[in-house]
Symmetry: C2
Subunit: 202 residues, 2 copies
């Protein structure tokens, strides 16, 4: 197996942290997005979406989408469990992971894509939309801060894939104009807690 | 158990079709979104996101997010399988389900929210962004049309949750300004095929 990776990408980091938590090492290739390698014919044949990460199997087939890759490894190696251990626990962790994607990751990405000069000329930018998303993100961070007043981690008292999703979103947010406000003390506490794990450097 | 539903909602329809395919019936309550019931204190205590569907358990706890609800029922009643039967198959179906959400459902929702008069005064509308998403959606539909030249269903030769996601997105699209163009004949063929299933009327 081989992983098509992107060092600073939000989604590739999710998979790297997931694998580090599992203690799984697989060879990887960094795709050069700045040079447009991910939009070249060769890479689009691997993943028509032009996104990373992608897992290449030894038979030459591919699996894209971070969570699809994570789920695959969760099934191959269930310990430590990151998606839960009972049907109800798995469903609740799925709910929280999706909330982190929809309510935190997507607005952080939208603020980056629509307001950051990095994307000028690379993708259509609509600054008014970026500002709408910025306001929504602030509301969502305040909500998440309240939730984290009640438990240690996003989905409960243990670290799960929902924490990985949220932490990678906030790592990108910090670098692209969506820092966690200092007065959201529960969220700051949680962020420092997850960043202190060795896997955070994966 | 009880389901908080929304008759014309995209996500509630995903769960209804999923349950119909499984032959599962549970009582439901329609939340009146036009009257703002989903933004009232009572409903926000059930789901702070104010979205439907939500599954209420007999112990008074709740599960939100359509796919979390679907996964829960897949585990309770594995047949017919709609998320796959092996780790690799499950991972591939997950990939296709996510592609349908990210590349088809989200742009269709964005076109609706940002270009349709229904949302005027209800949510911030950025028409320029709606047009960007409209153009992206056309590209994605053309890509999906090519993919469906190679197989009967979205993720392979059987009907799965990825078809449910895509079909519910296109049902909303048809009603809100994102119809499938007639010349995308594979996509039209697939759409008629999935709509012919009895569950499509759930």
């Amino acid at each position: 197996m081989k992983l098509y990776d992107l060092k600073n990408g939000l989604n590739p980091r999710r998979v790297r942290i997931f694998l580090a938590e599992k203690g799984i090492t697989i060879p990887s290739i960094d795709v050069d997005m700045v040079k447009g390698e991910n939009k070249g014919e060769k890479y689009l044949a691997i993943n028509p979406m032009g996104t990373m990460p992608v897992l290449e199997f030894d038979d030459g087939t591919y699996l894209a989408e971070s969570i699809a890759i994570c789920r695959y490894f969760e099934e191959l190696q269930p310990n430590p469990p990151l998606f839960g251990t009972t049907p109800l626990e798995r469903a609740r962790i799925e709910m929280w992971n999706r909330r982190m994607e929809l309510e935190i990751q997507l607005p952080i990405q939208d603020v980056f894509v629509h307001l950051n000069p990095f994307w000028a000329g690379r993708r259509p930018q609509v600054s008014e939309y970026g500002r709408v998303r910025q306001a929504q993100l602030l509301e969502r961070m305040a909500w998440l801060n309240r939730e984290l007043g009640e438990r240690a981690y996003i989905a409960g008292e243990t670290y799960t894939v929902a924490d990985i999703t949220a932490q990678c979103a906030f790592v990108m947010g910090r670098a692209t104009g969506s820092k966690i406000p200092d007065d959201l003390t529960n969220l700051v506490r949680w962020y420092n807690l997850v960043l202190s794990r060795p896997s955070a450097r994966a």
